[in-house]
């Protein structure tokens, strides 16, 4: 287990200065989740326009550095993308975190891939996996509510 892998610079930065925190105006979908074991909470807000584009996204939440960073990274990566693409990205990232699968989507920039990969550090910390995954599941469930 490598602590440095878990608390990479990117994670610490997103954890301390989370992007898109708050309730975005004009959100039309939202979902929340709670981990009773540790008390982590997240509430995610989406603005999906009629062309199924995610024009805005934000989150509110309480939690550890990993969970805040994961939420912040999610909003940063998905904002402005098409619905289908955001789903695919979310699923691939969950696959990466849980099953060490590779990211295959090629519409992401190298910077974005680096950012995403920083979340893979939890793989060796089983009790922390949920910290990283919860917000992605919450995002997907917000989309499901839509349908």
């Amino acid at each position: 287990m490598e602590l440095k892998e878990l608390y990479q610079e990117i994670i610490l930065d997103h954890g301390k200065n989370p992007r898109n925190k708050g309730v975005c105006s004009n959100y039309n979908f939202d979902a929340q989740a709670h981990n009773p074991l540790c008390g982590d909470k997240v509430h995610i807000y989406l603005n999906l326009d009629k062309d199924k584009k995610l024009v805005d996204i934000s989150f509110e939440g309480e939690g550890c550095a990993i969970s805040l960073a994961s939420a912040s990274i999610l909003t940063e990566i998905l904002k402005g993308k098409d619905l289908n693409l955001t789903k695919k990205i979310s699923e691939e990232i969950l696959g990466m975190i849980k099953n060490k699968e590779k990211i295959t989507i090629n519409s992401l920039t190298e910077d974005q891939i680096t950012t995403i990969s920083s979340l893979a550090g939890v793989q060796e910390f089983p009790m922390r996996v949920k910290c990283a995954t919860m917000v992605w599941h919450t995002f997907l469930s917000a989309l499901n509510k839509k349908n």
């Binding site: 709670h34 009773p36 540790c38 910390f125 089983p126 009790m127």
Partner: protein
């Protein structure tokens, strides 16, 4: 692993009882434990112990994984559809109490009927009696026939449109009768009645497949399956676990807790309040390993061989009356000897190193029906041999000598 040499796996057989080798014929009461299971408890406490599911440190992570892995093992072993269908309890008794309480509170009302049988162990009657009292419900008893079995028609006859649940044993711990679960489940499903199986005697002696059996609830005591004491399993279909209210309240089973309201975790956690018997759960994986290494089929055919031989030998003695003559018998053999009380038999057999059980075996209803206050029971486990039966027979002769019969 060879069945013939299996006694070697069980440290208890190094003991002498009253100077004689131990002939253990009390497995229906509790089975002995193989060394691998005993050692797993020690090694867990010595090198891996921590509380489960609560802390994030390395020991806790390891312990939690071991604990949850056992749930996966049990799921596979029972061929349950979901891992969330496996709840760890203190024993079969607690498993049945859980269902009677949670199901009873939600689904049983005044005038409703609970269908059980005259074969039931007190553990599959008293919890329903509580609900009878609390809810003003009725308990119907399907009767046993002269062979000590409950027939399908007897079940059919007792079902009414007020029947809310059927609770029945898989194998009787007195007559040894094996209940035709699948047929009962078929009948019940037609009428949308859930079926609980008391699998306490079934689980150690039958191949189990929950999806094939189709029952809604199945209760198991691990200590009769070469596993640790203080541990049981409730299998329940997920739809029920999602619907039922929690049974005990405490740490771990909650979602959010406020002063005026509480929401609960999802199953299985919802039903596992407080600190669990971690070491026992972890060690139960070794019991499954043990059973799978021999193979349930081999266990069954060995046990049946001993059982048949036992029946044959006991029937030869004309002072002996064997209780029940079911078409299908699972590994128990109850008998009486004319003129000697079962307790006296048990004491004299013990003097010869033979451990059996005497009494009503927690089946007073059945013993009342049989007109017997008590019987003597020899029950078979994987470690028993034909020689054990021979020693039993000689010891029975000794009883008669003591009592000058």
């Amino acid at each position: 692993m060879e069945v013939e040499n299996i006694k070697k796996e069980f440290p208890i057989f190094k003991q002498k009882i009253n100077g004689k080798p131990l002939v253990y014929l009390d497995s229906a009461n509790s089975s002995q434990k193989p060394k691998s299971v005993i050692d797993r408890i020690s090694s867990f406490y010595e090198t891996e112990f921590s509380n489960v599911g609560r802390s994030v440190h390395s020991l806790a992570v390891k312990a939690t994984n071991r604990f949850e892995n056992t749930r996966d093992r049990v799921q596979k072993y029972l061929n349950a559809k979901h891992r969330e269908e496996i709840i760890f309890t203190k024993g079969a008794t607690e498993a049945i109490n859980l269902v009677a309480s949670s199901f009873g509170k939600k689904f049983i009302n005044s005038g409703d009927e609970i269908l059980i049988t005259e074969l039931e162990h007190h553990s599959n009657y008293v919890p329903w009696h509580f609900i009878r009292q609390e809810k003003g419900a009725k308990i119907k008893f399907a009767e046993v026939n002269l062979n000590g079995e409950v027939e399908i028609d007897e079940i059919k006859k007792n079902i009414s449109n007020k029947t809310k649940i059927i609770a029945i044993t898989h194998i009787s711990n007195v007559t040894g009768a094996i209940t035709p679960i699948k047929k009962i489940v078929d009948i019940a499903q037609e009428k949308n009645i859930p079926v609980l199986i008391d699998g306490t005697q079934g689980a150690p002696h039958l191949t189990l497949d929950m999806q094939d059996l189709g029952c809604d609830f199945y209760a198991i005591s691990c200590h009769k399956m070469y596993g640790p004491n203080g541990l049981g399993i409730l299998y329940a279909k997920k739809k029920w676990l999602d619907l039922l209210p929690p049974y005990q309240g405490g740490g771990g089973m909650i979602n959010e807790v406020y002063k005026d309201s509480i929401s609960y975790a999802d199953t299985p956690t919802k039903f596992e309040a407080g600190t669990m018997q971690t070491a026992e759960v972890v060690a139960f994986s070794e019991s499954i390993n043990f059973i799978e290494k021999i193979g349930m089929k081999n266990i069954l055919s060995h046990e049946n061989k001993i059982l048949e031989y036992g029946l044959e030998q006991l029937k030869k003695k004309n002072s002996i009356n064997i209780i029940g003559e079911p078409k299908e018998r699972g590994s128990v053999l109850c008998f009486t000897i004319k003129g000697i009380h079962p307790h006296d038999i048990a004491t004299i057999l013990d003097d010869e190193g033979v451990a059996v059980r005497a009494g009503h075996h927690c089946c007073q209803i059945l013993h009342e029906k049989l007109g017997l206050p008590a019987t003597t029971r020899a029950s078979i486990g994987i470690y028993n041999t034909k020689e054990d039966i021979d020693i039993l027979c000689k010891a029975i002769d000794h009883c008669k000598k003591v009592f000058q019969i």
